[in-house]
């Protein structure tokens, strides 16, 4: 086994759409030398049990994430803002899919 990382292929994040009309969802990550190989590796690793109809890949280094230690400031203020949920409206009966 090689112990250094310099010869390793970059990491890619894989997003799979499970069927037409749905969103692409994060499925996991794979190693690949370039985008085309990433899509093929993703196809082989993540869609072998009919999980998908479409694949997106993006090199992991291009994903920017929120800081875990800022999560209080970022997310907790939403906890007591229940009025942001549309639960205070009387919906007409004809409206079925809300």
């Amino acid at each position: 086994m090689q112990t250094t990382n310099k010869n390793e292929w970059p990491l890619w994040e894989v997003f799979i759409r499970s069927k037409a009309g749905l969103d692409h969802k994060h499925a996991g990550s794979i190693h690949a030398a370039d985008a085309q190989m990433a899509i093929e590796n993703a196809r082989d690793v993540y869609t072998r049990r009919m999980e998908g109809v479409s694949i997106w890949v993006v090199e992991s280094k291009y994903i920017h994430a929120s800081e875990p230690d800022q999560s209080e400031a970022l997310f907790e203020p939403a906890n007591d803002k229940i009025y942001r949920h549309p639960t205070f409206y009387d919906l007409p009966d004809e409206l079925k899919h809300m």
Partner: protein
């Protein structure tokens, strides 16, 4: 076309699928990276699935042959014991109970994996052939073979894409990868001619409308192969003496080792299941 010839034709296609599938499956757990380990194993299973469909059909044909013809078809004692007992055979019997001289795969596919480059070159030569072969078989007068071809062609299209990609990557990669894939292409070249050289079975199958036109495939194959080899910055080998015999049961020394591993359990413990 008589039944015996149709059986042999089906067996030729099935044995190709089983033997390449077995060879590629040897990479399971040994792939160069995890992602390719899975890719190779997927592809091996595709080939095995094709082999199963074809062996099922071959067994069906075999079971309808007159007793005299059954005796002449495959000579292994294990299989002939079933014939003597008047038993029907199935796909497993064809895979596990025939001896080397009753296998009709082309020599290319039994060649050892050696390294990733040889594995890729072998697959590429075969996938390119298989793509045109199954495309032609879509029009077979035999509806079962045409249906198997239709199902297989989607898989084979991906196999060809996969092995072409790798051939190009290795050829257009580093100095070492270029040299290794060029060596593999050169060394395996002499086994490529057999795929598109018609033996008596191929000729009878084509004449009856069941089989593919290998002469037409030969042209298409060469065009495809030379296009990918050029893109991979590799040199196309010169036309040379081509080995053959596999389709008629004359094999290289490698097939016996494959069968020893593949068949050992069924031969040592007949009818075992797990």
């Amino acid at each position: 076309m008589n039944k015996a010839t149709k059986l042999l034709y089906t067996i030729q296609i099935a044995d190709n699928a089983l033997i390449i599938g077995h060879r590629i499956s040897e990479w399971c757990g040994h792939g160069p990276i995890l992602e390719q380990d899975i890719a190779a194993t997927n592809i091996a299973l595709d080939h095995l699935g094709q082999a199963r469909s074809l062996y099922q059909y071959a067994a069906e044909i075999f079971n309808t042959l007159p007793a005299e013809e059954k005796k002449q078809m495959f000579s292994s004692t294990a299989l002939q014991a079933k014939v003597a007992a008047n038993e029907n055979i199935d796909e497993d019997d064809l895979a596990y109970l025939r001896d080397g001289w009753d296998f009709h795969n082309v020599l290319l596919l039994e060649q050892t994996n050696k390294d990733w480059a040889y594995t890729i070159a072998r697959s590429f030569f075969y996938d390119a052939f298989n793509y045109f072969f199954y495309s032609a078989l879509l029009n077979s007068a035999d509806t079962t073979l045409a249906a198997i071809a239709e199902k297989s062609l989607k898989e084979v299209t991906y196999h060809l894409r996969w092995s072409s990609e790798w051939l190009i990557r290795l050829g257009d990669g580093t100095e070492e990868s270029h040299q290794r894939i060029q060596n593999a292409v050169n060394d395996l070249w002499m086994y490529t001619g057999e795929m598109t050289t018609a033996n008596e079975t191929d000729k009878a199958a084509f004449a009856s409308g069941t089989g593919a036109d290998l002469a037409a495939i030969k042209t298409a194959w060469k065009e495809k192969v030379s296009a990918v080899i050029n893109e991979a910055t590799l040199t196309m080998p010169k036309d040379a003496w081509m080995q053959q015999g596999g389709k008629d049961g004359l094999h290289t020394e490698h097939l016996g080792y494959i069968l020893a591993e593949l068949q050992f359990m069924q031969r040592a413990y007949p009818n075992m299941e797990w």
